[in-house]
Symmetry: C2
Subunit: 80 residues, 2 copies
DNA sequence: TTGTGACTTGTAGTCCGTA
DNA sequence: ATACGGACTACAAGTCACA
């Protein structure tokens, strides 16, 4: 059997990737556009796009802004 | 009874403060100095000190470095 | 061992476009 | 509505001397 045949994979997924996936997922659930989310969070639209594509290394303060805009706790954006 | 007499307080504590408290707490549990933690995480001692004092707005990538050095998942550093 | 202010460098974050 | 690029400006990263 391969290394990831059963149970959890050992391969560490980056915090940046986790955050990106969670933001996209939550934003879709709330039926918000990148622009609408950016507005709610007080950030720029292109920045949100960059975060979702993992090209930017976002800071805690802005993680918190996104979390509030999405109606979740900051730590939930980093949860697997 | 006062507003916070029982149950969870409503007052929102900043993600930065949460992170700082968790880093200090976990570092103490592991009996590491700021210097030792900084070394493990590949960061500078004073940078860790600043994060613990909440004077720095740390990024996800560095949250991840600290988490790995402390042996926890990144999201655990933001948990209340 | 930790706290803090100051400083330089790299990049986060904004804004303008184009597709 | 989103991706992507270029050109900015603001601020995080990283280091140091000293309390």
């Amino acid at each position: 059997m391969g290394p990831a045949a059963s149970g959890q994979s050992k391969k560490r997924v980056s915090a940046r990737a986790l955050l990106a996936a969670n933001v996209v997922s939550l934003r879709r659930t709330r039926e918000l556009s990148q622009e609408a989310l950016a507005f709610e969070a007080g950030l720029h639209r292109t920045f949100v796009a960059h975060v979702e594509r993992q090209v930017r290394n976002i800071s805690v303060d802005n993680i918190e802004k996104l979390a509030i805009a999405l109606g979740v706790e900051p730590y939930e954006l980093l949860k697997p």
